[in-house]
Structures are given as structure tokens and as C-alpha cells.
């Protein structure tokens, strides 16, 4: 699908709209793309089995056979799901800009504010860089710090990529439960943080930006909004896909290779001893292991899938996944510029605790 425009800087003159000529309208291209997507996705498992057992002639049930089948079926599946969900979210984000989110959150009293913040965090990506301007922007318009924290907790954990992958692999019940628990956790954490007078932990530069009165909160510079056409929105979706794939493919391939290795070569008893139902301490350990690690949801998902296929308990595996994608050291380093250590510890501690609880819940329920 063509979607990128190559601009050539020409001489000044009458500035016609320099969109590139397309062979057919963008919506048609997108529609064709979706149809192709559905066709490929539905045929992948058969294709993988055919590759592994007919073409390569590997033994069924053997290590290499299993690994290849996993790799051929899952690498494209994960990629396809990623493409679809990133496209949809890319479009959603042209509607839900940070400015719009701020408008939706300003002045909301009570728990509703936290709920909104947590829910709005779901389609919002967490680029560590943009987190700070967003944080300061919320602060400036008088949104309570607890509400902002709910948002910050929800962004990475309840993540559209993780949801899409969970849906694709385990169905809507698991994905829905993950989303609901993630939102609940973000809301509760935000409420708890609010109880602790978090404003005292703001760095001076952030504290100074808080509005001094009700009027100050209203007088914020507005972005002269450019009217977006549907072509623009679809384009935005497509460029989201391109950006995400570019950033993620290395993690993805590495994760899938590792996942395939685990699937094919590490025997079941090993995995279930460490991540299976028996030991009660699995969940906290999984979370602690995952906290300092960071990978995108797409990267860690294949590993999670592999250990699950080998007998790990669902709650433990999900807890590991949530803690890997939820907290990243670069993100914390960025936050440190505006928040003092005690609040950072509180943030990490509450997120970790929430994940542990979710992990146990999943283990019990399933």
C-alpha cells in the first residue's frame, strides 16, 4: 500500500496541494489490504504445518518440527495482528489527541476522573519522550496528580498491542479480563497515590507549572487545529503501522526466535517447575524479574506464548509480560525530571503490586 509522500522542495510559486497521485483512492487500498489480511491470517496454521512436515519433512512431535511450526505460524500471525491493531489505533489517535484527552479530563470530579484517565490511557502509546510534555500539560490545566498517574499507569500496561495479541491467541474473554483488570489497577493506584499528597513530590520545575487559580487553568494556548480529512486519518494509521514495525521488528524476531527455541527445546517439566501452578511464589518472582527488563508487547508476547504452551500458569506468564512492558528504566529516568524519587518508588511499587494481584487472580480463575 503506498501511503508515503515523497516531497521535493521546489521553487516558491503557487503552492498546489502536492499529494502524490494514487492508483486508486486510499480507502479502496485499505479495504483491499484488509481483505488480504483476513485471507492470509486464516491460512497460516495450515501453511505452517505444511512447511514443517511436508516441505521440510520433519518428524511430527519432534523438537525441530515443533519449533519450525511455531515460528512459521506465529511470526506472521503476530505481525499481522500488530499491523491491524496499530492501524486502528493510529486512526483512533487522530481523534484522541493529547489536547482532546486533556479536555476530557479537566474538571472531572471524583472517581470518574480516574476511570476516564485509565480508559483513555489504553489507546495512548507511551513514548517515553512525549510522556513528560503530556504530564506537564495535564498538570498545568489543573488535572489532579492522582488522575494523571492513573493515566500514566494505564498507558503502557493496558496496551493496544498486548490486547490485540491476547485476543488473537486466547480470545476475547482473556483479553477483556486483562483490560478490565489493568484499568481497575490504574484507577486504584491513582486513588492511592492521591491520598498521599503527591504534590509534595513534584520537582520544582513541575510544581511551578501548577495553576495558581481556577482562571489560570483555562488560559492555555490552543493548537490552531488543522481540519483532518479521512484520507489524512487513514494515512496516519498507515504511518503508525510503518513506525511501529520499524521500531519493533528486531524485538519481534528476537522474541520469536527465543520463543521458538523455548517451545522446541526446553522440556515441559523445566518450565512447569518454575512457572507452573505449584509454587506460590512464582507470581512475585515473575514480576520482579520483569520489572527491570523492557521490551515492547510485541517482543515479549512470543516468549509468553511459548512458555504457556510448555506448562506455565497463565497468571504467572501474564504477570511477567505486564511487568516487562509496564515499567521501563528509560521511562523512569525521564519521569525523574519532574517527579522526586519517593513518588517514583510509589509508582513502581503500586504497579508491581497490582500486577502481582492480577497474576494471582488469573491463576485462580483459570
Amino acid at each position: 500500500m503506498s501511503g508515503s509522500s515523497t516531497e521535493v522542495a521546489g521553487p516558491a510559486g503557487p503552492l498546489a496541494d502536492k499529494r502524490p497521485a494514487r492508483c486508486c483512492p486510499l480507502p479502496v487500498q485499505v479495504l483491499l489490504g484488509l481483505v488480504a489480511w483476513i485471507l492470509v491470517y486464516s491460512q497460516l496454521d495450515r501453511f505452517a504445518r505444511w512447511c514443517s512436515y511436508e516441505v521440510l519433512g520433519l518428524a511430527r512431535g519432534g523438537h525441530l518440527g515443533g519449533a519450525v511450526e511455531f515460528f512459521v505460524a506465529d511470526a506472521p500471525k503476530v505481525l499481522l495482528l500488530l499491523v491491524l491493531i496499530t492501524f486502528i489505533v493510529g486512526i483512533t489517535r487522530t481523534f484522541l489527541t493529547p489536547e482532546r484527552i486533556r479536555e476530557l479530563l479537566v474538571g472531572r470530579k471524583g472517581i470518574i476522573g480516574y476511570l476516564f484517565a485509565a480508559i483513555l490511557g489504553v489507546p495512548t502509546p507511551f513514548c517515553s519522550c512525549s510522556a513528560i510534555p503530556l504530564f506537564l500539560g495535564f498538570l498545568q490545566s489543573g488535572i489532579p496528580l492522582g488522575v494523571t498517574m492513573s493515566f500514566l499507569i494505564s498507558c503502557p500496561v493496558v496496551n493496544e498491542v498486548a490486547l490485540a495479541l491476547l485476543y488473537g491467541m486466547y480470545g476475547w474473554k482473556i483479553a477483556g479480563l486483562y483490560a478490565a483488570l489493568g484499568v481497575a489497577k490504574a484507577v486504584v493506584s491513582g486513588l492511592l497515590i492521591a491520598r498521599m499528597q503527591p504534590e509534595r513530590f513534584l520537582e520544582p520545575l513541575a510544581a511551578a507549572l501548577q495553576p495558581q487559580g481556577a482562571e489560570a487553568a483555562k488560559a492555555l494556548p490552543q493548537v490552531a487545529s488543522v481540519r483532518l480529512t479521512w484520507d489524512d486519518r487513514l494515512d496516519s494509521g498507515l504511518s503508525s503501522v510503518r513506525e511501529t514495525l520499524a521500531g519493533v521488528w528486531l524485538y519481534l524476531v528476537g522474541g520469536i526466535a527465543l520463543g521458538a527455541a523455548i517451545y522446541g527445546y526446553i522440556p515441559v517439566p523445566f518450565i512447569s517447575r518454575f512457572m507452573g501452578e505449584q509454587a506460590w511464589w512464582n507470581v512475585p518472582v515473575a514480576v520482579l524479574l520483569g520489572l527491570p527488563l523492557y521490551a515492547s508487547a510485541a517482543g515479549v508476547m512470543p516468549i509468553v506464548q511459548a512458555v504457556l504452551a510448555k506448562g506455565a500458569a497463565l497468571g504467572t506468564a501474564l504477570a511477567f509480560m505486564m511487568s516487562v512492558i509496564g515499567i521501563s528504566i528509560p521511562e523512569l529516568v525521564m519521569l525523574r525530571k519532574v517527579i522526586k524519587m519517593p513518588l517514583i518508588w510509589l509508582f513502581v511499587g503500586l504497579v508491581a503490586l497490582g500486577i502481582v494481584i492480577v497474576g494471582y487472580l488469573f491463576n485462580l480463575l483459570l
Partner: protein, 79 residues
């Protein structure tokens, strides 16, 4: 005309190149400033980067517009 480009850690070079190309295309005299200071960003109302401000008016937040669109905005601002 003063163009301020607000950037944080990611994707700065492409943004700068796009703004420079737009200025050339519009053919208007403009001074490009790159701002990375968080407080200045907050005061300008920038909530996601990259963001573009022309003569104090925020015209883009979160992404740099297509070069052609940006050049159009510059030409309009020059009148």
C-alpha cells in the same frame, strides 16, 4: 517570522529537515529555533512532540505536518 520547533528525544533530525524544506518551498524568510527545554514547552502549551509554532501560534502538535501543508501555513502566516 520565527518558527519554533519543539523536540524531545526521538525523531529530531527528520523534523528539522522537514521544517527547513517547508521554509525553502514557501520562500519566506524565517528563523528556525529548536527548543528542547521542558518548561518552555509546557508554557507554550506543547503536550506532545514534535510540535511546530509559527510566530507564537501553535500549528502542529505531535507530528510535523507534510512539507507542502507546512509550506502553505508559512505562506499564509507571511501575508
Amino acid at each position: 517570522m520565527v518558527i519554533r520547533l519543539y523536540l524531545s528525544c526521538c525523531g529530531g533530525d527528520k523534523a528539522i529537515a522537514a521544517v527547513e524544506a517547508a521554509v525553502k518551498q514557501a520562500g519566506v524568510p524565517a528563523q528556525i529555533e529548536v527548543v528542547e527545554d521542558l518548561v518552555a514547552m509546557a508554557r507554550a502549551g506543547v503536550m506532545s512532540t514534535p510540535a511546530v509554532e509559527i510566530d507564537g501560534r501553535l500549528v502542529a502538535s505531535g507530528s510535523v505536518p507534510r512539507v507542502a501543508d507546512l509550506a502553505n501555513l508559512l505562506a499564509q502566516a507571511a501575508r
